[in-house]
Symmetry: D3
Subunit: 336 residues, 6 copies
């Protein structure tokens, strides 16, 4: 079987899991990258209640869907974040938020990430996709001045909080695929290099390649695949479009809402943006990536019911680009 | 007298004020944009002690320097900021930091900004340059999700905290020239539009045109002068260089220190970066700006003792571009 | 009903109206933007003869076509133009050309534009698309020197000639949608600003957004929609392709015929050129434009019978991009 | 009949001729550009054995395929090349390689090119596509220093070796369509100018327009068609993609294998690269080229069985762009 | 003597000739390109009154200035122009304007151009720089539709009116150096090709290379030198700057006054714009151009008294780039 | 002492050594990078005759010049090259060329490179700059097809021939600084990676950073410094200018002579081309490079007697950019 195409359910968690399954199956997806929020997947129940996992599996089977990865961005976000504020309260379950004391929130979130590794194992899945949060993201503008010591402390904080989590991933035989993203400990090329150094390149900790944030930061998604080829553990297809160039729209988005065309960049449905998809897929072929291709669908200017099946069609076309068995200049060989 | 050229003392506050004056005068500057930190200018003393201002004036006179503006970025920063943390403690005097309780810090900082208006008046200066801080800068990445209501609240918080300060500027006949800058309530074109709306375009509140942060956000510094032509109250010449394009260096700077060439952009000495200086000066001519041209010198890869006089030379050359009295095609007129 | 897609009949006026209807209907168009020349629509008959309009309506009904706008570019052109010459004679009916005395031609053309407003009303249509001509277009190269007084006089001439016409539009409740275009009083961004000022932003006078001429002048079609969002009264989809870059093809077209690839730009069938169609349609969504999308088909290198149905297909696909009901990050909300 | 679309068999010569015919026919090609290697076409047999040609024709007829050109790149390459080495041995039949003595190889190769003209005539074909080799290609880097005299000698060597070959083409009424290509006597614009001068613009010697190598050398494929419009005797559609821009991938390909994404450019299936296909086809229309459009399929990252039919589909769509009979502004003419 | 540097007096004709000489000499110019308007040079007097020329020469000698060319743009403009209007009246002497009847104006202007050739001879000068005007410039936008027959007629009108003038240039042994420029019969590359064809490439009629208008039309000034290398009879250094890119400023200048930064391009002092001066001078070296380098100074944002000496300094520096006698790799030759 | 600036004598070897010294000294150079050809430096004499070195030193001392490196490009070229032909004969002394048998030439050249290490030691110099030649450069176009095995063999040949040479460098304590260059075993980024792997990153073998060939291959000279920071052993300042973009000039130079502006790129005097010199010098500062900055002067369009002193002036200005002792934001620290 060639690489399967899945739909990430994070942006659909307002829908009941079964409805989500029905939609994805109807559009022709091979499976789901299941979000650990909404009613889609509760990692605590998954490790505590065998029946829970079995029931999920039955729904998936009913719709002929498979699963290769689960995702828990929202709880991972809280592990390192500082400050912890209303934004976190809005996306965390009360079990993690508790009384909202920041350090307590962080520790409960870390605990859930360990549970997530065990839940993945329980579901028979090898990969967890997610975020880490960051205690130093807030220094990104470097003003008021943040010393390199403060920055170093941020990476150390990350290592201290995540190494114990990775220990659990190790013992469960599950891999964590971190999504390089603003607000996280790594959001570009050099911070990814630094992040991997901070945890000594532990093998259980790799990357979820999602090119959408590379585009507006002027990073090269294709080179990223090559340069981190031994750490690409999962692929999310999310697209973004730059809308700078008129001298008024800026790279930082101007605190404008998604979909506002005055933003200097925005998420768009896969294939509608600036990601060099074809070369990216050729690079995935080149490094031998054979895991799932997951569509993380976000486009504030398009109806998701229109966009999700369209994105699948686009990705299926990209998947048809497969390397041949033999070199083409073999045909020039003289053999008389 | 054509527009004077001044040196902003903020990056030199480690030097005693008189030494700073001696240097600037020796290089040929017309005056200073005096920073309200270090021993350069203490706004509290200025309003409480007539002799303090007189003594400052004597030093300036001794070195044949004038002053058209004072700057208080560091205290302005604390007015709206959230969180208030170690970075603020590092740059605030104990009088403002106090016990470090965030709201107390903000209010004491606001009080100092009022005092700054009075101190400017006492010094005989019409303009205060500075920052505002921002309670919503931290939402810039828009993840965890920040609703437009949260964003709106940030602009409202800004208006609530700054309107009373502007009242004092109004009554003193002094203008505040806000520097558009990451970490502030406005950092690009559309946030500047929104900021000015938030305070109903009060006339005492305008802009310090500093193009360095426009360059890496892909904003057009020349158009900015035109579009906000009635609000350009001060000019800071600081330059920046984009170093993106290799697919690895990113627009956000990667938390790398100033001067690290892997940053996607960096400050450089005036004339060494990507600011379109000539057209900017032509635009300043076009809108009739006749205030000071102040050099805010920052370049982590160059010695400031080399850079400051070089920047002056570059700006003097730009100042030589002056519009003529008559249209050139007048010479084609037939007059026989 | 979503926005209808119409075909502008101007480039098909060599065909009898009914044949045009048959073709457009067969290709699946929703309606026509009817040109007031050829036998397609005679505004004088329309206001003088009730049966004329009724007969037109019957043909449209027979082919299940609707009409939201009529166009009278060729007569509008003559209202302000100077000189009036052979080119005008070639495109004007004898009723307007008369003896060819320039001022007489202008006045008769102005009269026809008033009649056009009444004819639109008679047909039950709210919008007239068209040109204005210009007495100063000939000064575009600014050599021999044209003073600003001469330029000012041109805008004044425009206002003087068009205000009485707009009065009739006002009284008929019909809007004029001016097409920004070389040879007209406004052909780019700043001339559009000036034109609207010249008539005090009268509400009956707005714009027909046609991006084809923006492309080669380096104007941004998407920003144009935003910046004039309250004056976009009609949309024409015409595309253009820049062919500069080899150092020999120039922006002005070299007096070469349409379709000659040495021209620095040329019209091409919608979707074959440099217009950023997708973002343009997103912008139309953003400003809430709900009028017709009309295809003005011009491509000297393609057969129109091939191009017109292809263009419809491309526009239908663009129309499928519709904003969703809810924000995508709603799905992240915690609700336990 | 509009221009036919053929498949060049050079990259398929590992397959038996009939299998190749079956594939091409099944995909819908109109004919073949037959390579004179493998078992596809043996020029010596063609001129010596009437039955050989007849048999080939029968296979073609069986699959409803036509032929307008044959190609003999591999032997043409050896005519001027210096050094002659293992690479040539690998692609030449023993009849030409013989004992491998360079001058002998060159002369036997030249002899085969004459035979190829006669074979084309025997097959009823007017065009032979191919290479020339070059004795000075090895000087391309100009270090160790190569004097202009050495360069001149290379063009003279070319003329001396090819004029006798062209004599045979003349007498057979067949044209040679040289493919501009690195390793050949002409590989870009100015070397093509020089090459044609070297043989005094003999009419039997023209060009096979193959844009793939133009793309990475920054040559303009569309202008090339215009500037050499009287010498475009054949068209090969091969595409290429530039992959420079990250500062590490170079224009020269780094001796990396085809398909390695670190190469600064690579061949890709038609329509997947940087060739401006639409304008190229418009240019072919403009110069009245009415010969075959041949797909030379090379893409080391794609399976040829997937790519060849896809390329045909893309080219068929390009072929639908045909100039109209009449000028579109005819419809504006007044005829009352 | 290397190529001399002259100052074109056209934009200084409001100053008395002697004052102009004094200025130019004081700045260090080698000579003048004298405009045939103001009191600088009257061609009628020059041919009728020997003393007039002698007096001019004395003034030149007094200031140690030489002259290699005279210019008569303003009268040349009227030879072909249509319409003839107020703009012409403003720049023509009454002797040429007369009663303003267009055809009379054209014929008197043509007569003056013949006289100009004779005046050049009388002054001992081999070159006249100037314009032609154009009866078809007004068709540049191609709307209202202008047929190719109309365009052809324009080139024919040009040939008919200028051939008799060129006859006089021939007989006087003087060359006309036409300045490629909007409003003229040729304003870009392809119109220059067409113009030269229209007069059968007569040798007395060549080009004044002035790159300022090439810049904003996207023409390559360096290639222009090569491609018309046998017709470069004079060089004018005028610079221009593109100011497009923000999506609002357009290539056509928006009828805005010179110096308005909203124009999409503008003239600027030599070295302040987008002309590739260094490569242009290398190209002039390459074709062996050894005539004068004349500075035509126009910059609505700079004082000409500042600009003219600055431009001279810049051009002198460019002149220092001179080809060496021997090839640099000669030094690698082994000679033991 | 800051980094010294030297002049490479390779392009001046037609001059006697003392004359060269006199010129360089007169222009203000600190020293020379002495070429081992002409009469500048004979490595055989240097190791055999103590007086030879002493005499050279006396000449240098007389002109107050120092030496930090010697260069032997021409002999190094012959070590791996294949074919060995007239071009080599032209630049090799008869001692190395001998009977011209290729393998003999290669071995004698290799012997000279060993002697060069000993000569450097004798002269008291730590660095030898040079070339390697390449047996596979001729495969750069990859047609006729060159297998990866052939390519691999080329790197192996390089290692086999150079390892014994490097052994001598090791034992002499001298470093070889290879210049990345077309015609050599490494000519771009990825071939440099491969070359260093081929010899197991031996420490005595590093790089001479010469950015001129990076520019036209689209390689990033600044990143190159970072990525190979532990192997930058010498710096040569040679500049190059891209002249592509018109669609006719190609990246490969068209076999045209140096200085012909139709070449797609050419060498130009330092500071006249596309090398990002300022950022390159900032990068050299960043990696702590403290060796000589050598000007390798080549510009076929400029006189070397003009260019060499001008280049020195430009490099001296670049050298003035030196990093400061302290971080600039130290001045913001609060210290009350």
């Amino acid at each position: 079987m060639p690489r399967p195409v899945t739909l990430f359910t994070g942006q659909w968690a307002d829908l009941p899991f079964e409805e989500m399954c029905k939609l994805a199956s109807g559009w022709g997806y091979d499976g789901l990258e299941i979000a650990c929020w909404g009613d889609h997947f509760d990692v605590w129940q998954a490790v505590e209640d065998e029946g829970y996992v079995k029931a999920k599996r039955e729904v998936l089977d009913k719709y002929n869907l498979k699963v290769w990865a689960i995702s828990n961005h929202l709880k991972g976000q809280a592990v390192c974040d500082d400050p912890i504020d209303q934004r976190h309260k809005d996306i965390l379950p009360s079990k993690i938020w508790g009384d909202g004391d920041p350090e307590g929130v962080r520790q409960r979130a870390a605990e859930e990430m360990k549970v997530t590794a065990r839940a993945a194992r329980a579901l028979g899945v090898d990969t967890v996709v997610g975020f880490t949060g960051s205690s130093i993201w807030k220094y990104v503008a470097m003003f008021p001045p943040a010393s390199q010591a403060m920055v170093d402390a941020g990476y150390e904080d990350f290592a201290n909080r995540w190494n114990p989590i990775i220990d659990v991933f190790d013992s469960e035989g599950v891999k964590f695929a971190f999504e390089v993203h603003p607000s996280e400990i790594a959001y570009d090329y050099w911070t990814t290099v630094r992040m991997l150094e901070a945890i000594d390149h532990r093998e259980s900790y790799g990357l979820n390649w999602d090119p959408s944030h590379f585009v507006w930061q002027d990073l090269n998604p294709v080179d990223f695949i090559f340069d981190f080829k031994d750490r690409i553990y999962h692929v999310d297809c999310k697209d973004a479009k730059r809308r700078v160039g008129n001298g008024r729209n800026g790279r930082l988005g101007s605190h404008l809402a998604w979909g506002d065309l005055r933003r200097g960049w925005d998420f768009v449905s896969t294939g509608h943006g600036d990601v060099p998809w074809e070369d990216s897929f050729r690079a995935l072929n080149a490094i031998g990536y054979d895991g799932p291709i997951s569509i993380e669908w976000e486009d504030a200017g398009m109806d998701r019911l229109h966009g999700a099946p369209e994105a699948l069609k686009i990705v299926r076309a990209l998947q048809e680009i497969e390397p041949p068995a033999a070199s083409f200049d073999a045909a020039f060989a003289s053999s008389d």
